[in-house]
Symmetry: C2
Subunit: 610 residues, 2 copies
């Protein structure tokens, strides 16, 4: 084995052994991870960037040419140039992850795809005359055997479109309806969009419907965050202001439309050629999107107005795709287990796995589902927004400059998103920091932070980071002189408590789900971590602080935005759309706040494992 | 027979023989005509007013008490008091006609009615709790076995309505949809509305759906007349103004909504309790109503945008009934044979009659349908607006003060609508005047009006009415001193020509329909005259001027607003709604302007029969 090295790719969690002398790019191919390398690994294009964790080797001439000094300082290297000498952890960067997930989805859709529900017909119609006075409607419909009805906008626009295009048009048919008529031949352009409306993030996935191929995806902040980080503050806003609900609705649809416009602009796809949309989101977000009062979600017994799937025209909700196209808002399960969880269950195939699996979507709420052979049980825990960076002294969203990895040994090492100088700390950075602080003994198992005086066992480089600011103990991660904001970035005792509350809530949910089904951790075959947060946290850190139960690390699967992927599956496959309804109907929901034992589980789960 | 007299009721055209000594009210009962007489014919209530034509008998004390001198002067008498001494023509007044038609419709609906498509369920739902956290939607739907979907407005309003009514609500179910939810128990209130949108007149019929009973009806001027009397000027307006089509659409829906509001106000029916509507109208009116460009109807080859039935939500067209209720706009047949003609065909049962029948709806256009055992053939003739009173020197709509009957013997006798002093002349008055002028020789068979000099054969009382005004021959009907407007009301030579053009067009249409089917007048089993105009004209006058082919008068049936009645049938009976679609699909349309022979027929038909 002396001539082999082991390479682990994070956050995919895949490990391969390669012969010494092979590159990281070779290792990636062997692991089935598609790193985009248009030049074929010749050190010419500079696309195969990865981050090499904990090892530094001399920079190749190609790297010197293609990477900035900042990148090199942050461990960014070209996979084709880096020849590992020892076992190594390689971190995949955003574009690579994208590519990996895209490839995965493409493999998936080939299996999923049914008949594309949208058909297009290019027609060259005979113009009317006194001996052929058929109405425009009749002229069109009689050339389309399956279609029987014009939608109102087609009925309105048909006379003009026919005459402006010399009676050469493309009809877009869905079921027995003509949902659009376009000038000339547009038969090739048939798109759909899957949308995930998170409390914090909006994500959109543009799909070519006949092939099921993902064309592009993008995400951005949900502009509703201006009304509060959590759903409860937003609901409060809709209660306090007369037009608040409407404002909230307009804000989210505007955000979605902007996202859509951007995706269409850089792909060159015309928005009017998108004929179908699937939307997932938590229950409150789907209420807001449809302009439905969500106030009863804010008060016990937390009753949503609706849970079933909603099928509506794009024009009805002002979604800027083909106006008569259909939008499917996937069903919710309960007040705090929404359509996004249905998407996660779809994407992780929890509904048909043999064995016992848990899927967790960690965000402001931690929604989780336990799939056993008896069915699916779900619950939601109010993790609070700590994982989103809220209520944390230097907390921030997972955007450029956020500390997202922390390693503590003799000193503190950290990385930031996009390798920029640190501005603050995002959820995965916080989790890492706390886990590492516990590892080296800065925190005890109850979460208490040691004072400088107590921490005599620490090396000075760490010990001197312990201080008291505004009467509160804290641990300095980055000194002011080393960062963007010109002041120390530190973790406070209160930050640690916030994280403990959040992780305690989630862990309690997991324990209760298992308990309700008479299972223990040993019966668990795997945990899927969904969502951006779940995708980027270090699993060893999550295990160390006890966010997750003690399971072998290779049974923990980060699955990325599974909610969005579920929405894409429902977009591509009518069978999956139906499955989504079944899932929502059959899931058993547990209301944690109604369980007297919840508090005990919660208290126990707040501590760190010994 | 000496002790019997014959009483003919106009415009119903029913004749009965009664023993001398019986009253006109008795005669009406015998003829099956329901004259409203709450006092039972005792001369107490004064409700059984009729007009006695051409006979004057002494006024009874009851009449003296209950009638005004003006009424008596205009021939208005009480049916219960008037004991005919000779054969007599009795004219039924508006309220009586209403009652007659209502009774007729009620007899009809008993046969027509299927299962009412709307169901209402009063529900007393269990309020939510932590052990029953079902969504509001689920709570409602699980109490309604047939319903599966909430409509958007119900989804939006349900949380509020449930809580404001202590979870005691009435659900309105149509098919698998809940289209409304109302506070408390409203199970009894289920209404529908049938609407006839004429170029000139809007008519509405409010129906109690479970029983099929007509509750009320009303009509008013189509406010679009402000944009022109005929459809072509209105289409021109939509072409010339950027927002013209929208303006035209808003005008008609506002008119319909005002009509609806009035009907609901005086019946005490809540507009939100109307869940279904059927609408008929000519092709241009249905285009305007739906906001569809009708410009291609104005130019050869006169192509409509659509002809098929349109099913749409009330909210979509802003019709102020229950917003999620369904509106059916009945199908059109061709550019100038609209849904109103489909209504006429439905109401006259032309689609299943044995024998050959023609139904004519005379308005600005004369749409007509010939039903034979081989099917139905339709055409439309551009009669022009003469019958509506337009382009006539003293022409006016058939409203209060319009001369509607003219009798000429030694002198001119006339009646007006509501017995008011004459203000002008409406279509039926014009037709009467011309027919009578031809009868006594004031007009020759070509329609030429004799000059005073030529008319030496006339009695002086008539001859002195012939004069020349502004260089044009004319015949004075009412002297200025005898009328409201303080000036002579007369018929000009040009008025006669306008009428000739109008009646020539209609007669030519009838002849061509017969000819296309290889039929002659002798093969014809009857003619139905639909529409207000057809209902009120004197059939002998129509025959005298040759508007209708020479048929025995008792084979000509005035049928009132058959288009509206057809709409009502489709409202009450899903079977009839389907029948309407069949009729529109199967009718054979003849485009008269494409027939070279039309001009000949038209020229021949302009003259008066010798």
């Amino acid at each position: 084995m002396g001539d082999e090295v082991e390479i682990r790719f994070e956050p995919e969690g895949k490990t391969v052994r390669i012969k010494k002398g092979k590159s990281v790019l070779d290792a990636a191919y062997e692991a089935g991870i598609l790193i985009d390398a248009p030049c074929g690994g010749r050190g010419l294009c500079g696309k195969c960037k990865v981050r090499i964790v904990d090892e530094f080797l001399p920079v190749s001439p190609a790297e010197e040419r293609l990477l900035t000094p900042e990148e090199i300082a942050n461990g960014i290297r070209l996979a084709c140039q880096f020849i590992p000498q020892n076992n190594l952890v390689v971190e995949l960067l955003e574009p690579v992850l994208e590519a990996v997930q895209k490839a995965e989805l493409e493999r998936m859709v080939v299996k999923l795809r049914g008949k594309c529900p949208i058909s297009k017909y290019f027609l060259s119609l005979p113009p009317p005359s006194l001996s052929d006075q058929r109405s425009d409607e009749e002229r069109l419909l009689s050339a389309l055997p399956e279609a029987k009805v014009l939608t109102p906008i087609v009925r309105r626009d048909l006379p003009r479109i026919l005459r402006e295009s010399d009676f050469k048009v493309t009809a877009v048919v869905l079921g027995d309806e003509v949902i659009a008529v376009e000038k000339g031949n547009t038969e090739e352009e048939i798109y759909g969009i899957a949308i995930d409306i998170g409390t914090t993030t909006l994500a959109g996935y543009l799909v070519h419907l006949p092939t099921g191929r993902k064309i592009a995806s993008d995400s951005r902040l949900n502009p509703q965050v201006a009304y509060g980080a959590d759903v409860i503050s937003r609901i409060r806003y809709t209660i306090d202001r007369e037009d608040g609900l409407n404002e909230m609705r307009n804000t989210v649809i505007e955000g979605v439309n902007n996202l859509l416009e951007d995706i269409c602009t850089y792909t060159g796809v015309c928005q009017d050629r998108i004929y179908q949309a699937t939307i997932v989101g938590n229950t409150c977000m789907t209420h807001f999107l449809l302009g439905v009062d969500a106030r009863n979600l804010a008060f016990t017994p937390y009753v949503p107005a609706f849970t079933r799937m909603v099928k509506t025209r794009a024009k009805t909700i002002q979604l800027n795709i083909s106006p008569e196209g259909w939008v499917y808002v996937l069903p919710n399960i309960a007040g705090f287990v929404g359509a996004d969880t249905v998407g996660v269950i779809l994407a992780t195939k929890l509904y048909r796995r043999k064995g016992n699996y848990i899927a967790i979507d960690i965000g402001t709420n931690g929604e989780m589902a336990l799939g056993t052979e008896e069915g699916i049980t779900v619950c939601s825990t109010a993790a609070g927004p700590a994982f989103e960076g809220a209520h944390i002294r230097f907390g921030m969203h997972a955007t450029k400059g956020a500390i997202n990895r922390v390693y503590i040994s003799d000193d503190v090492k950290l990385s930031t998103i996009d390798g920029e100088t640190p501005k603050g700390i995002c959820g995965s950075g916080l989790l890492d920091a706390v886990a590492e602080m516990y590892k080296v003994g800065i925190l005890d198992y109850t979460g208490r932070m040691l004072s400088y005086e107590e921490a005599s066992h620490l090396p000075p480089s760490l010990r001197e980071r312990l201080t008291t600011i505004d009467g509160e103990r804290c641990f300095i991660l980055v000194r002011g002189k080393e960062n963007e904001i010109n002041r120390d970035i530190y973790i406070t005792q209160k930050d640690v408590r916030e994280l403990q509350l959040a992780k305690g809530a989630i862990r309690a949910g997991i324990e209760i789900l298992l308990n309700k089904k008479g299972l223990s951790v040993d019966d668990l075959d795997g945990i899927f971590l969904a969502g951006a947060f779940g995708n980027y946290i270090r699993r060893d850190s999550a295990l160390r602080i006890g966010l997750l139960p003690p399971l072998p690390i290779d049974k923990i699967y980060p699955v990325g935005n599974a909610a969005g992927r579920g929405a894409m599956m429902a977009l591509i496959s009518p069978r999956m759309l139906k499955r989504a309804e079944e899932i929502a109907r059959k899931c058993q929901y547990i209301e944690l706040s109604a369980l007297p034992e919840f508090t005990n589980y919660f208290m126990d789960a707040m501590y760190f494992p010994l």
